[in-house]
């Protein structure tokens, strides 16, 4: 029976928690593709659901606010979309955006008529005129949608790291020392 002090410690400190991260590389890849999927693979279901709902809701809200135009990949001198670096950490959105970018740029280089894939889903603007039109049509919603999707991507980066290496508290040097000491104590007890 745990004393009140022990229960209080348990509530305040989760560094000693035992976790099976399975294959961390697979977990990180799954977490990149779909938010929370890596945690689901590791059996951390409640965390998986929380991450999936929170990150996806934020991403879809931002995407909707910007009329579906705010997530695209473009690194030309006219349109350096640096926000895509953050959005990239949501793999299921990043991959189609990169494919669209490569498809559009190759068509522009060949000088053929532009034919966007998937009805222009996650496609970059075909010209600065189109980009200006998006900004004019969606005004502050375009910036806010960009911010929401960028933050969603960056939050998923935290989630990817958590799926790969366990919760952040494990990496705190003091907490890590306590965790290793507790593990060593448990092992010694088992031997005796």
């Amino acid at each position: 029976m745990a004393t009140a002090d022990e229960q209080s410690d348990e509530l305040n400190d989760d560094s000693g928690i035992d976790l099976d991260l399975k294959n961390p590389y697979v977990a990180a890849l799954l977490a990149w593709i779909v938010p929370g999927m890596g945690h689901f693979y590791q059996g951390r279901t409640a965390k998986a659901i929380t991450i999936f709902v929170a990150v996806t809701m934020l991403f879809i809200s931002g995407y909707q606010m910007g009329g579906g135009k705010v997530v695209y990949c473009s690194f030309t001198s006219e349109d350096l979309r640096w926000q895509f670096v953050g959005q990239f950490f949501l793999g299921s959105a990043a991959v189609p955006a990169v494919v669209q970018n490569r498809s559009l740029r190759s068509q522009q280089q060949q000088g053929t008529s532009i034919n966007l894939l998937w009805n222009g889903f996650l496609a970059p603007p075909t010209s600065t005129v189109e980009l200006n039109k998006w900004n004019r049509d969606y005004h502050s919603f375009f910036q806010m949608g960009t911010l929401y999707t960028l933050v969603a991507g960056l939050l998923n980066l935290f989630a990817i790291y958590d799926a790969y290496g366990g919760p952040g508290v494990w990496h705190d040097p003091v907490q890590r020392k306590k965790r290793l000491a507790a593990a060593a104590e448990a092992a010694a007890e088992e031997v005796s």
Binding site: E10, I17, K47, I51, V55, G67, F141, L155, F158, P167
Partner: protein
């Protein structure tokens, strides 16, 4: 009451007012704090405590930035 239509409509309405832009800041802070807490801890009581602490910290930090930028904008 949070104006949910802010998240749904864009083309059919005018630019957001300053207050509306500030309202959109709250879901962002709440979700960021919660996900940060979730990725830092494993037990729910600790996660919620961390999320609340982070939400206050984010709010304070961005509030300070807002005050500085707002004050600077008065000189334009």
């Amino acid at each position: 009451m949070f104006p949910w239509n802010l998240l749904l409509a864009a083309t059919e309405r005018g630019a957001m007012s300053g207050i509306e832009q500030l309202l959109l800041f709250f879901p962002l802070v709440l979700i960021s704090s919660l996900v940060y807490g979730v990725t830092r801890h494993e037990r729910w009581p600790v996660i919620f405590r961390e999320a609340a602490r982070m939400a206050v910290w984010f709010g304070f930090f961005t509030g300070c930035m807002f005050i500085v930028v707002f004050a600077l904008s008065q000189f334009n």
